[in-house]
Amino acid sequence: MPLPNPMRRLSPFTLSAFFLLLAAVLSIAVGSVFIAPGDVLRVIVGALAGSIPPELEKHALIVLSLRLPRTVLMALTGAALGSSGAAYQGLFRNPLADPYLIGVASGAGLGAVIAMSIQWPYSFWGLMAVPFSAFLAAMLTVFSVYLLARVGRTVPTTNLILAGVAFSSFATALTSYLMLRSTGEVRRALGWIMGGSTQAGWDAVLGILPYLVIGVGVLVFSGHALNLLQFGNEQAQQLGLPVSRAKTVILVAASLSTAAAVAFSGIIGFVGLIVPHILRMWWGADYRRLLALSLLGGATFLLVADVLSRIVIAPQELPVGIVTALAGAPFFLWVLKRAKNQGYW
């Protein structure tokens, strides 16, 4: 086990919660505009008390309307991707599975680009058109893949993966075609596909929240079912799990959370793939624990990546999707190399 010695004695949940808190504080404290930590604190205390000192008004705007909603959005997105990734890996019993495996990302991308090619009125619903269309297309894709992969009353895992890959390629090709045909939308679509929230402020947080509460809520309680599924469908059923129903519920919950996250935060790769693996190497494969830890770990990981995206080439910002892969891959390889117990999967 590669976890540093003193940390091993703490409960993984205490440790994860502590790091999440640390990342959140960092995310609120760090930005392209320097605000003294004391002032950040005074702003937050002032906001809670209902009166902000007038000399801090500008900083209050930055902290309360920019950094705080962004922090919450990134944490929610990371939580969705982390827990969905763990669920997909368990569901498909495949270490390469990530939340985008069966087409959520490519479907969302297609939906987003279609919506971007239409002139929407500048209104609340006009602005919601892109995330809404992305979300809808993502869910439609998963549903189509599911129907295509179904054989009689069962949905073989291999079929699901193959149908997902084929459908993804199709949707991605269609997206590229639409982007080539369009003029001004390429920049917008590219920015979205590389990850990073398109709309600042609390609207996105409110948009993502209901789906995440349902989706991630179900996932967190699916640990026992996923544990059983690791022994194969037959043994799981012989041990008392209604396999088809459980798999469908987990699939829908994971897809729902991922689709909502993608719709509002763009396609952020790598989080859903590596976070569950790292946690599995540190704290074992029990999905009851792994799902909750992946939720916390995904949020922490994405927050840290987002902070990096703000400071690496400040005052410019990198799309966070680039940071998750650039920073995430070497970190993952380092953990992999140090893992003594190679049979963690």
């Binding site: 194969g232 469908n233 037959e234 012989q238 041990l239 799990l241 209604p242 599995r280 494969a285 049979g343």
Partner: protein, 264 residues
């Protein structure tokens, strides 16, 4: 008592089980024997509800049709010790055995002190307490088989099905496992169906034997009644002699003319 009535299973157009009916009393071990491809594993899977049987087939326990109840209810009545497939290597032995408690847990999978105690006892019975905290991926085939038996024990069911549990075991573990299976039936009153390919083990450790050939039950009875040269020779396409076992007089089947490949 477990009643299997007119169970028929097809894969596509191929009929694997043809109108199989069997009765297993409480406190009895029934061995299922027959050549490869006769349908032994399919029968275990069909009775446990993971392979769909034709309508009309019934598996009954105290008037409950096990094929029409939920997996959860079925798992409280019937446990299965499967053939060793690849077990998820990262799970510890204790975690694996605890999954046997699934039919008694709430939807959160919360474990009570009673569940812990049942798991502990199951580990004890298969002599696997010292393995409890090890990942199953590190265990030998024989140890894994014991873990799977412990998991079925933790399920605490009146019926247990075992599918070729001795296939990968050394001689001493084969004997140990079958002794335990017999104790479970005779002392704990379980109704046990065990698929075995070793005729002589079936003869020594089980109460009755059912001979399955091409999906049909050819004979059911005590080992002395079923393990006779006529029946076995025809089923396996091989002339055999049967002599009494020097220790306890149970039938001992010996092939007469060894042949590289049996005609099917």
């Amino acid at each position: 008592m477990l009643l299997i009535e007119s169970l028929t299973v097809s894969y596509g157009t191929r009929r694997i089980l043809d109108n199989v009916s069997l009765t297993i009393e409480n406190g009895e071990v029934l061995a299922l024997i027959g050549p490869n491809g006769a349908g032994k594993s399919t029968l275990v899977r069909a009775v446990s509800g993971v392979v769909l049987a034709h309508p009309g087939g019934v598996v009954r326990k105290n008037g409950v049709n096990l094929l029409s109840v939920s997996p959860m209810e079925r798992a409280r009545l019937l446990s299965v010790v499967p053939q060793i497939s690849s077990l998820p290597p990262a799970f510890t032995v204790r975690e694996t055995v605890m999954l046997g408690r699934t039919p008694y847990l709430n939807f959160l999978g919360q474990v009570s002190a009673q569940d812990e105690a049942m798991v502990q006892r199951a580990l004890e019975r298969v002599d696997a307490l010292d393995l409890a905290e090890r990942p199953v991926g590190e265990l030998s085939g024989g140890e894994q088989q014991r873990v799977l038996l412990a998991r079925a024990l933790a399920q605490n069911t009146p019926i247990m099905l075992l599918d070729e549990p001795t296939a990968h075991l050394d001689l001493q573990y084969q004997v140990g496992l079958l002794e335990l299976v017999r104790t479970l039936a005779h002392d704990d009153g379980l109704a046990i169906l065990i698929a075995l390919h070793d005729l002589n083990l079936a003869a020594r450790y089980t109460d009755r034997v059912a001979l399955l050939v091409s999906g049909q039950v050819k004979a059911v009875g005590t080992p002395q009644q079923v393990l006779i040269p006529e029946l076995i020779g025809e089923a396996y396409h091989l002339p055999v002699s049967v002599i009494p076992h020097p220790f306890d007089g149970s039938p001992l089947v010996l092939p007469r003319a060894p042949r590289a490949f049996p005609k099917s």
